[in-house]
Amino acid sequence: MHIVVCMKQVPRDNSVKINPDLSINADGIEKIINLFDEYAIEEGIIWNEKHGGKLTVLSMGADEWVEQMRRALAMGATDSLLLKDPAFATLDTIAAAKVVAAAIRKLGDVDLILTGRNSTDDESGAFAPALARILGWPQLTYVGKVIDVNPGSKTITAERHLETVVETVTAPLPAVVSVIKDINNPRYPSLLKIKKVAKVEPPVWTAADLGVSGLVPTVTVTQRVPPPPRPSGETIDGPDAATKVKKLVDKLLENQII
């Protein structure tokens, strides 16, 4: 079977700045695979090892993203694909999903798409559902356990881990699945494998290759500001711990916080 993992590169932390043109400036912050996507890659490897076939890591972005795609290849992905075009740079999530959907259609033989529940920078979690709907495939989001992927019956059964309940759901393949953090333990690629893929250049598909044009964002950012600073706090002092604790509880009661 052919499994595709959609992955995104993100800054390791969100101490980003805002450029005058309102774009996000993450210069100087280490770039990593979006953590939730790393779990998706591991889940893809697990099922690829079981059923064989191809495991493609797909990313939409700039050349600098290739480094993280190589990491996914070193972990165990068999193929890679980069979607790159100046027209893709400013797309909102739904428009990005349209581009990825075009690539999935062009690949033609995809049985399962895995991705993280959200990126840790944008944090919307909209990509997987949007991609599923645009492809016309069923979706299983917030999956904490894949119980079975059955190429024979062409089904996937998985647990969706929501805030207070766990749903067990079966969907026909092809399907789109988004995964949460505790689904597995992503492996560390060996040095040997890292060396082996160090020079791999993923195939690149552009907007023209995909036949997508006239993508209009439905959302535009008109303002971006840092959050208002928190009012400065108060230090609870005292000669010993017992005095400080009493003072703290006094403060909490006085301010009707408890």
Partner: protein, 325 residues
């Protein structure tokens, strides 16, 4: 009609608090847009909930009542709401921002080719144009969105963003809609409550422990009893979740839960930027740490420098005697 449609979430046959907020804000936005407020109730045996929604200010409540709509499926609920969208032609569709609503809302927006905002904390309608405010990047960036004209907007709203609507006389009408031609492709075979579920995002008080607790035994000795004395839930930093002390369920931060309780008590938590991302919007923050330079103190409402091993048992005791718990 350039109005507003609210997706009604239900909790044990009652209208969820976030929906009451949306009905309140939706009424205001509908007036600003020059349209009416409608609501859609989706499920099986939901007639009573539809009546209640009418009492919270919806001019029209669409009820899509069908056995196939319970439990939730994306296919079922998106099809049901699209029937209501076709009837009401709203310019703005509001729902909460829980995992299930994200599953639903993004799918609906894709189907309608609508604008989408997830985790909205404010919404405005000026001269027919809708704008939304949402945080991203762990709360380090506050974005204002505008939307393309001529398409609806789907806004998934973070709870506790708006005051709740108050019930009045049920003035609105309830209109039944059929779930026509919907193909539901997924099969839900069980819906089980999470064992030891902690809905941190709903807790009014959260007590979180970090690496400063030293080890797993000490965490369980000190943190859950303190949380209980506060009448709250207990959370954990990523470091100690990854170390296997505490299940992921309890993790607060960039790759865990984003919480905004009335009181957040961080014990032995240094306050890495990834942790702050998940709790910086808490209304009050207490930090207890022996390192006075720990970044957590920079966001603290009340900072107490001290050894958690000494402070926490005293605090638990003090709360028990003062609060009578």
């Amino acid at each position: 009609m350039p109005g507003v449609l609210v997706y009604v979430e239900q909790v044990d046959g009652e209208i969820a608090a976030v929906t009451r907020e949306l009905l309140g804000k939706g009424k205001e936005l509908a007036a600003a847009l020059g349209g009416s407020l409608s609501a859609v109730v989706v499920g099986s045996g939901v007639g009573a909930v539809a009546q209640k929604a009418a009492a919270y200010g919806a001019d029209t409540v669409y009820s899509v009542d069908d056995p196939r709509l319970s439990p939730y499926t994306t296919d079922g609920h998106v099809a049901a709401v699209k029937a209501a969208v076709a009837a009401a032609q709203p310019s703005l569709i509001l729902a909460g921002a829980s995992f299930q609503m994200r599953d639903f809302g993004a799918a609906l927006a894709a189907d309608l080719d609508a604008g989408l905002v997830v985790d909205a904390i404010d919404l405005k309608a000026d001269g027919g144009a809708i704008t939304a405010v949402r945080p991203s990047h762990g709360g380090n960036v506050i974005n204002t969105y505008a939307f393309a004209a001529g398409r609806p907007v789907v806004a998934l709203v973070r709870k506790q963003s708006f005051p709740e609507a108050q019930p009045g006389a049920a003035a609105g009408s309830v209109q039944a809609l059929a779930l026509d031609g919907a193909e539901i492709r997924t099969t839900v075979t069980s819906v089980a409550p999470k064992t030891g579920a902690v809905n941190l995002t709903d807790a009014a008080i959260i007590v979180t422990g970090g690496r400063g607790l030293g080890d797993k035994d000490n965490y369980y000795k000190l943190i859950p009893p303190l949380a209980e004395a506060f009448g709250g839930a207990y959370g954990a930093s990523r470091a100690i979740v990854d170390a296997g002390w505490v299940p992921y369920e309890h993790q607060v931060g960039q790759t865990g839960k984003t919480v905004s309780p009335k009181l957040y008590v961080a014990c032995g938590v240094s306050g890495a930027i990834q942790h702050l991302a998940g709790m910086r919007t808490s209304r009050n923050i207490v930090a207890i740490n022996k390192d006075p330079e720990a970044p957590i103190f920079r966001v603290a409402t009340f900072g107490l420098v001290g050894d958690v091993n000494e402070v926490l048992p005293l605090l638990t005791q003090e709360l028990k005697s003062r609060l009578g718990r």
